[in-house]
């Protein structure tokens, strides 16, 4: 009878690794600023692009619009971002980080970079192949 070794199965391994990495990364920003992953993604996207609509944040960080909506509200309540009605389209709101939000962003980014750096260093010569294969996988599953 043909069997399957779950622990060798690609989708399973990818999921488990991604979960472990995310969990570990949480220890980077968790202790200092209590953030969920959706909140972190919104913060990171706004830190990167300065001003953006919720719609565009969702597209760029691949999150459902309700997820974005909730994360935005949570960050707004913490005074980490503010909304401004768009001039040319009053349906959408332009979101930007507040001074406080930017402060948090500037605090987290170096830690995030260091976290990533540490992983790639531990991988050593396999770091490059990893980045290449991730790109290939993103292309195969058109995650872009």
């Amino acid at each position: 009878m043909s069997k399957l070794q779950l622990e060798q199965f690609l989708p399973y391994r990818l999921n488990r690794i991604a979960a472990a990495v995310s969990q570990d990364f949480r220890s980077v920003y968790g202790p200092h600023h209590d953030l969920t992953i959706p909140e972190w993604r919104v913060l990171a996207t706004l830190g990167q692009f300065e001003a953006m609509s919720a719609k565009d944040i969702g597209r760029h960080s691949t999150m459902h619009k309700t997820k974005v909506s909730r994360a935005v509200r949570a960050l707004e309540e913490r005074r980490w971002l503010k909304r401004r009605e768009s001039e040319e389209d009053r349906r959408e709101e332009i979101l930007t980080l507040t001074a406080l939000g930017e402060k948090v962003y500037r605090d987290i980014v170096p830690k995030a970079v260091a976290f990533e750096r540490r992983i790639l260093d531990e991988l050593g010569s396999e770091a490059m192949p990893l980045l290449g294969v991730l790109e290939r996988l993103e292309h195969i599953f058109n995650v872009h």
Copy 2:
């Protein structure tokens, strides 16, 4: 000001890819048998090991015990597995697939293998590096 490109950030990319792969894999077993991921993992583990306790299923497939408990009940209600009280320890239950459950398992496994094969084929010469680097990552984050 130092910024971070979220779309290039390792934890983010891993999560997105893992989600996309899982989503795609769902189309393998989804249409024929309506299964959640936890249910699939329980099914796969029991198919692989014949008889096992819920505890051991959780350890082998890295799932929280309540998640296992719920998946087991769902599969039991579908008559895909059955429970049997353990002789030597009456706290635990030995779980095994029913004939029906094994039939489903034998139906899904070849499709799962083909799914994985297709990905690795598309990766071509980068398939081997991927498998190597996954092992390294599992080791680094002691996912084992």
